[in-house]
Structures are given as structure tokens and as C-alpha cells.
Amino acid sequence: MVFSYYPGCTLRTRAKELDEKARKCAEALGITLEEIPDWQCCGGCYPVASDEIATRLSAVRALMAAKSEERPLVTLCSACHNVLKRTRHDLQTDETFRDRVNRYMGNDPVYAGEGEVIHFLEMLRDKVGFDTIRAAVKNPLTGRRIAAYYGCLLLRPSGVMAFDDPENPTVIEDFIRALGAESVAWSMRNECCGSYMALEDKGIVERKSGSVLANAKAQGADTVITACPLCLYNLQKFGGQDLPVVYFTELLYEALGL
């Protein structure tokens, strides 16, 4: 299978291990991720106000590139995923936005948010299947206790993201179990790490990421996994615990014996 792929700015720089290991794992599972040409940064945060048009155009262009190949568009970074999925939803449901975007871009025929956007985790769950992954594991992570950190952007708003149950998600836990590890039950997995406050008020991030990691540690996790480069940075830098935080793709890479 060949899917279109949107890496995003951070995966080319600070989060290379998220990008490179994901591609290699996908190949091992029979999927080629083909990067869409000339993609632009999504902007990191979805522009919430309905009259923000230009700030959503880079996401529109990415969606249209995947649509022109008639392939699902796969994302890895939680932030990119949030921006792309929500912009796609806007094109489908907000007539004013759709009209203004299509006029500006001179689209003929009109683009109305067709095509699928899936996160790599959704690809593993829905396109590959955890049973297939379980069968492909060469180094089962037996005895490891992994905490699944979802954060905000994969799940919310659930009506648009449709990623998993927003209060009791299971996809990352199922992923962990497919790799042969034990998934830790903990309460802070959907709570915010402090996000972009890392620039101007590191105190907030220390309090938010600190309480997240303290909870994972107290529940006996030996590793926390995430899909988001900013969550990873905040938890590692400001979490205040001797507890490794890694990308979920690093765990997959290890378990597949690559």
C-alpha cells in the first residue's frame, strides 16, 4: 500500500527519530509513505476563529495534494494532525470558508475536503491492524511497563478528530500490548503538557508536565510514549522525573527488530 505523507516542520529537524523510524516501520509492515511535494508548515496551532482564512491555506494545500493522488494522507505529529483534520472538517462543513478558499486558489472543480486524513496510529489500527503488528514483532517488549500519553491534540475536539474515545482512549494501549509490553493505567494521559507556554512561562510547563510525569512514575511506568514533539520536549525538559519519554515509533522500531 502507498499512502501520502505529511511530515511537518519539526520532523525534519528536532524530531528526526519520529520521522525516520516511522517510515522504516511502515516499510516493514508493507506500507510506503510517499511525502507530498512542496508541503508547507501547518502553523502548529489550528486557527480557531472562523474568519482566519489564509492561516489555514497550507493545510488545504496538503489535503489537496493527497486528494490528487487519491490516497489517504498520513500524519505523525499530533499538532499537524489536529490542524489538517480540522481544516478538512471546515472545508466540508463551513460554506463561507470553502467558498473563500476555492476562490482564492482558483480551484476548478471546487475542493470540499474530500480524502482521508489519518494519524500513523490510526493507520496501524485501521489499515494494518494490531494482530498483524503482533505477528510482525521480533523482539517482544516483555516485562516493560509503558505509559501511553495522548495529550490534547490527538483527541480533541472529538467530534472533529474522531480519533478515539476522548475520555477513555485505547489505541495507544492496544499498540503497547501488540508489542508485548504491559500498558500502565494512569489518570493524566489526556492532560495538557503546557504546550507553547514553553517559550514565555516555563513555570506553567513545569507544573503541567510535572504532574503528568509524576503520575506516570507513581503508577510504575518505566517509559512514557507520545506522538507529539512538543509534548516530548516539555515532559523531558520540565517533567522533573527520571523517566524516559520517547516517540511511540521508537518502541515500534525496537519491537520489529529493525
Binding site: 502548529g44 499538532a79 514565555e200
Partner: protein, 128 residues
């Protein structure tokens, strides 16, 4: 901007109807930034409705919302407080010279591990 026009604009660009709020306080109860804020999510909803937007526009609380969407997810009435907070913040930073974060401040805020995502997100939230 004249107060009534401002309120109309905020409601239009946020898509929020504050009158749907039944004042249960769940938005503020679930807000990860509650302790960091002077005005909390439920107060944004009632103060915009009551025409007290100027107090909100002058408050640092505008720059404490993490846009985590917990308040939106958990509101039993679908009020979406985060969208209203965003609209009030935009009412401030869309004015000339009112950016909260400026590019020349960035070098002192960086370290070698900080992901680009943090920079683009903060600039998108706090500057126009």
C-alpha cells in the same frame, strides 16, 4: 471598537452563543490553566455576554489559555469557551502594535532542543 459591535464580532468569529451557558463551571473545573488565570473560562463566557470585554482584553489571562480544548470537550451545553477566549485574544493582537510576542524576543527563549513546533505555535497564538 464600539462595545456592541465588538461583542457581535467576537460571537461571530468564535461561533459561540454565551446564552447557551448554564453556569455549571465544568469548563473552569477542567481547565489546566485555572490556577494561572485571573479570569477563567466560564468568566470569559459571562463577561463577553455582559459587555465586560475590555477587562478581558486587558488581562494576562488571554495568554494563559493552552488551547487544549478540554473546556470545549467537556461542556455539557456545547458552548466552546476556548473559541471565545481565542476571539478576545484576536481582538487585541489584531490591533496594530499589539502583538503579545515579538520575533526579537525569541532568541532568549530558545534552547537547542526546543522543537520548531513550539515557535510556530506560540507565534500563531500571540502575534499577527
Amino acid at each position: 471598537m464600539e462595545q456592541n459591535n465588538l461583542k457581535e464580532t467576537l460571537l461571530r468569529i468564535s461561533g459561540v452563543n454565551p446564552r447557551k451557558c448554564m453556569k455549571c463551571g465544568k469548563c473552569s473545573g477542567t481547565c489546566p490553566s485555572y490556577d494561572e488565570m485571573e479570569y477563567h473560562p466560564h468568566e470569559f463566557v459571562s463577561m463577553v455576554e455582559n459587555g465586560e470585554t475590555e477587562k478581558l482584553m486587558a488581562s494576562p489571562s488571554l495568554y494563559r489559555c493552552l488551547t487544549c480544548f478540554a473546556c470545549v470537550e467537556r461542556c455539557p451545553r456545547g458552548v466552546q469557551p476556548a473559541k471565545l477566549i481565542e476571539a478576545v485574544r484576536l481582538a487585541v493582537i489584531r490591533q496594530q502594535g499589539m502583538n503579545h510576542l515579538k520575533p526579537d524576543q525569541l532568541p532568549d527563549m530558545l534552547d537547542e532542543d526546543m522543537p520548531q513546533q513550539a515557535l510556530v505555535s506560540a507565534m500563531r497564538k500571540f502575534a499577527k
